[in-house]
């Protein structure tokens, strides 16, 4: 209500996937945009846990790095735009950089999904110190969810 620094736009979510290859910070997937906005507007443990559970249950693959022209050429040749999966070293790097994408429910995986162990969601809140002109963020709530067994998910 234009009366305090603490507003939905001053709250942020930091999402972490714990994988077999280490932790990866990821962006909010498109499927969770609404739930993420709800969690920022009216934060509750249930909402954060809901996001963590969806992240942990999701199938994650490295993002496809391609140009528009390459994508067109692949579509023209094969009728599908999926590129060759990245090799192991690039895949490892992409996981560490969080360059991952959560597949939608019925989407075919273009590469082997990343082995997710658990997901962590942190809600951070901005505060402004007018004397030092500094915006500080503090973690005010966390939720964690374990992934289902790898075999179950496959």
């Amino acid at each position: 209500m234009f009366s305090t620094v603490d507003s939905p736009s001053a709250r942020l979510l930091r999402l972490t996937l714990v994988t077999a290859d280490g932790e990866a910070r990821v962006d909010v997937p498109a499927q969770l945009t609404q739930l993420a906005m709800e969690a920022r507007t009216a934060p509750t443990s249930a909402r954060l846990h809901g996001i963590a559970t969806t992240l942990a249950r999701g199938r994650w693959v490295p993002q496809e790095l391609t140009t528009t022209v390459q994508r067109y050429m692949q579509l023209a040749q094969n009728g599908n735009a999926h590129q060759r999966p990245p090799d192991d070293s690039l895949r490892f790097l992409m996981i560490r950089l969080g360059l991952l994408r959560m597949l939608s429910d019925h989407e075919r995986a273009p590469a082997p999904p990343v082995h997710i162990l658990s997901a962590r969601v942190e809600l951070w809140r901005e505060e402004f110190d007018a004397h030092t002109r500094t915006i500080v963020v503090r973690c005010i709530d966390t939720a964690t969810a374990s992934a289902p067994q790898w075999d179950e998910r496959k």
Binding site: T4, V26, D27, L97, A130, R133, T134, I135
Partner: protein, 284 residues
Amino acid sequence: VIAIDDQKALALVLLLTLILLLLHPDPFWAVKVPVTVLTIAGFAHEPLRRTSYFWFVIGVFLLAGAFARWYTTDNHRYLMGYWCIALSLSLGSTEPPAALRNNARWLIALCFVIATARKLASPDFLDGSFFHHVLLTDARFDKLTAFAGVTPEMRESNLKAVRALVQYASPLTSVHLRDTTAIPPLATALTWWTIAIESLLTVAFVVPNHWPVGRYRDLVLIVFSATTYAVAPVVGFGWTLLVMGFVQAENRGVWLRWAYIGAFALLEFYLLPWQLLIDHAHRG
């Protein structure tokens, strides 16, 4: 000057509300499309816009859209919905002009009671931090901060700082913003001006009509709109308040309702790209 009596004011406020709905529509398609269609129908057919049901349907669309997307809805979207329901109830009453005046007055009063209470209860508003933060991070205040010496480079630096902090993979827990020595006093001035004018508005709309401060409520509302929306151009909000102010003004003065109409135009005038025009004039 031709006085705008209550009957003329009633006819005009229906048109002004339709203009408000067309110029500042809810961006959500499920609200925007039906409300725009209804609005056009209301313009085309006067008897339709004078019916209670017409405004009830528009109000339901506005409020359903606002509540369905509560996590992203701006405050004034609710107010616009309440206003259309108030129009509906007033048009269905035995004395529409009087009912409308009452509803408009108390909607404005409630708005400012809640807004003022929330500000007075907020420590970071009272100590000036809120406006200091807003001046450095909210692009809507760029024109104002330019007068306080904030350069485009400083704005860019602040924008990048905030983006770096909120980027999904950011390891940062703090960032430093750049400002000038004029920003803290400007933030303090804005804080106390806002508290003063909103408190005055609250009192002016709550006290009985014949009290001295009650007699000047229109002047206070017009000054509030002319100053607030010059700085923060949330024109849809300003228009909603002015529509309600216009109809509750009664016949306190021949000029009064014309002053409201002038204020509508002023708010649109604020949307001109002033910085661009000034730069253009400087370049000759």
